[in-house]
Amino acid sequence: MTEKTEGMLSPYRVLDLTDEKGLICGKILGDMGADVIKIEKPGGDATRNTGPFYHDDPDPEKSLFWFALNTSKRGITLNIETAEGQEIFKSLAKTADFVIESFPPGYLDKLGLGYSDLEKINPRVILVSITPFGQTGPYKDWKTSDIVAWALGGDMAPYGDPDRPPLRISHHSQAYLHAGSDGAMGALTALYQRWSTGEGQQVDVSIQEAAVHSSIHHNPTWNSERPPGKRGEGMPGAGHDSIRLWPCKDGYVSWSHGGASRLGPSRPLIRWMDSEGWADDFLREYDWERPDFTRIPQDEMDRLEEPTARFFMSHTKAELLEGAVKYEVMLYPVATTADMLENPQLVNRGFWVDVEHPELDDTITYPGAFAGLTELPLRISRRAPLIGEHNQEIYEQELDIAKEKLFILKQDGVI
């Protein structure tokens, strides 16, 4: 087990009551050095049954999903629906800086553990509440899931093929990750305010709104400056469709001819193609700087794209990434997870970190720090906790609960 080393948020303690809707919030704070205690119901959080699993073994101690989002946290089990559990939670809350939760609105209040209760025990505590639609409103008691959050969030509608349903990004929920990082942003914003007021407060994060914030490219339509796009349509007002994702030798690459556009000028690519003998006269002599480039007719765009397509097909993703940097072309390969592990930039920056899992007798490679800090580096200080792994450390050693009492609490299903 790696030692807990100093991080930017080392003075702070977090009590993490979240399920998958908010797990990343505690991870972000923990990777920055905070003392995060993940609190699960006895027997472990239901999220541990979410795959993928280590070697496909569906064991609640082997969920890679759980591992990924609970780094740098210690773990205890506690049933906050029991009177004794609530008392134990309150004694922990006395010295906590943050409590993060993702229960339905009103749930903690019913247990006597809502913000108005917690602030009496500890006026400095900051409660971060992550819910499907926020604490109030006509939808506040509604359920969510990732596909529902994206649907209502607005970022499913513009994309996808017109002959099939609109899409969400596959696999684990992206919306919950946005909400969790919004929670961390809110937590630290409230912490800033606490320096002058001495008080905590409640931070209210709506998962739907986290998804809507991700659709700010809708701004022109919100402001009726542009009608909502038709699904699968290219740039509105363009004279042609242009290819955005091109097949290459071993996959796909993301690129669009932009003429002289600042976000995708074509000339650097033409230079590269030319240096390898792929540019013909037409491409070389083309007036890429023409101001009406976005309105050139389809057959002209096709003429420009045809040799480009053949150029891409002659190269692998790795070669295209290397060349993009060398020739300053604003393209990137459509990377798979395998590609990302080989990315020379990520490797050089030490982005991939190995985390020990002694129970598995193995080390697993994780994505590392989200920021390069010159003072105290961000790091994964430990792997995700096992179920109740730190019960003894926290209950016995810190809260001074006698071993015999702990045994009874366990029998009674409190821990």
Binding site: A184, Y192, W222, L245, L373
Partner: protein, 397 residues
């Protein structure tokens, strides 16, 4: 008047397009003094010259101040440095090393303000073989793995626009807030090297582990999810109207069947368990579509949610701004004055969360150079003569 949350905090930015401006906006909207250094040719806010009063540019500069200054010129650079020396934080999102070449790197600024917090955000970070590479979030989303896992298994990867541009700003803000807290306790500033690829990849973490532990490369799966069926967007009445429905538990499945008026379906061998529903998912989706097509998306959502099944209209931007009752209740959109009193525009809230003891007040984005006088005189300490000279030389616009 109550003190604004970030009142007294000063941030200077040299930013373009999305990630930079959104990062500092999290502070300006809550009362920090955020100063954009910009010129007519390098206006922050994006294409269209980022002209105030126009579209999305307006939305990313609320509450900010603008100083028009060309720091490519030595006198301009001196003025820029003086301005930044009065700031707590400096944020930039130009391509890697651009500002170092111009004399506004961390090493330069540390000399004049030792405890400055500087954040640079670019595609791939400030160090390493690809550090200077510039691009946009539209392409970076591919490098961070998102295009590959978006779309149908039998088709090409799907387009997702600049998805990573939405992941980076919160991480930038988090890094700045942590650095601020650290500085308050220790007096030390620092440099925050943000790679948009590295923040993007944070949201890929479970799939990274599936590769490193299991050698499995994640692919796109349409709308399927292993733990739910039905789980898809279903076509409803009207043109291109859809409602997402997701059923996770057997209880929800029974409720679902009640809502669609086919309780027998719940016990049908083809669909009675999750495993069975997954096996017959195509047929199941067809059956669900047969019901949803006769209802509006809003009706489907409401009937399902009232029965305890998660469902949601696939909303477009118009639905969000004009029809969504939950967003309306939360005052998600508010009217903000355009600069120069030319009307108002609809803006999302100033922060990604509600605070019980603080609020945002959204003020107009600035016109180019609107605060030159204040910034040149009070912050840079320039005299009227010096300012006139620089204006004549084209250093100030």
């Amino acid at each position: 008047m109550a003190k604004k949350l970030f009142e007294g905090l000063r941030i200077v930015e040299v930013t373009v397009y999305q990630t930079g401006p959104l990062t500092t906006q999290a502070f300006s909207n809550l009362g920090a003094e955020v100063i954009k250094i910009e010129t007519g040719s390098q206006m922050t806010g994006g294409p269209g010259g980022g002209a105030p009063g126009v579209g999305t540019a307006n939305a990313k500069a609320t509450n900010k101040l603008s100083v028009s200054l060309n720091f490519a010129n030595p006198k301009g650079l001196e003025a820029a440095r003086r301005i930044i020396a009065t700031a707590d934080i400096f944020v930039e999102n130009l391509a890697g090393h651009s500002l170092i070449r111009k004399g506004l790197g961390y090493e330069d600024l540390k000399k004049i303000k030792p405890d400055i917090i500087m954040l640079s955000t670019c595609m791939q970070g400030q160090t390493g073989p690809y550090a200077t590479h510039g691009a946009s979030g539209h392409k970076l989303s591919a490098l961070s793995g998102f295009n590959h896992i978006y779309g149908w298994p039998d088709r090409e990867p799907a387009w997702i626009a600049a998805y990573t541009d939405n992941i980076a700003p919160p991480y930038n803000v988090i890094a700045i807030l942590a650095a601020l807290d650290y500085r308050r306790r220790t007096g030390k500033g620092q440099f925050l090297d943000m790679s948009q690829n590295e923040t993007g990849v944070q949201f890929m973490a479970p799939l990274i582990l599936d590769y490193t532990a299991n050698k499995r490369v994640a692919n796109r799966e349409g709308n399927k999810y292993p733990y739910a069926a039905p789980h898809n967007a279903y076509r409803c009445e009207g043109e291109d109207r859809w409602c997402a429905i997701s059923v996770f538990t057997e209880e929800e499945w029974h409720s679902f069947c009640r809502v669609i008026g086919d309780t027998a379906l719940a016990e049908d061998a083809r669909f009675a368990t999750l495993a069975a529903r997954k096996e017959n998912e195509e047929e199941l989706d067809r059956l669900v579509n047969e019901w949803t097509i006769n209802h509006s998306a809003e009706e489907v959502m409401t009937l399902m949610q009232e029965a305890g099944v998660a469902a949601g209209v696939v909303q477009n931007a118009e639905d969000q701004a004009q029809r969504d009752p939950q967003l309306r209740h939360r005052n998600f959109f508010s009217e903000v004055d355009r600069s120069g009193g030319t009307g108002t525009f609809l803006s999302p809230p100033g922060a990604h969360f509600l605070l019980s003891k603080a609020s945002c007040e959204l003020l107009p984005s600035p016109n180019l150079g609107e605060h030159n006088d204040y910034i040149f005189k009070e912050l840079a300490g320039l005299t009227d003569e010096e300012i006139t000279e620089m204006a004549d030389a084209g250093i100030i616009e």
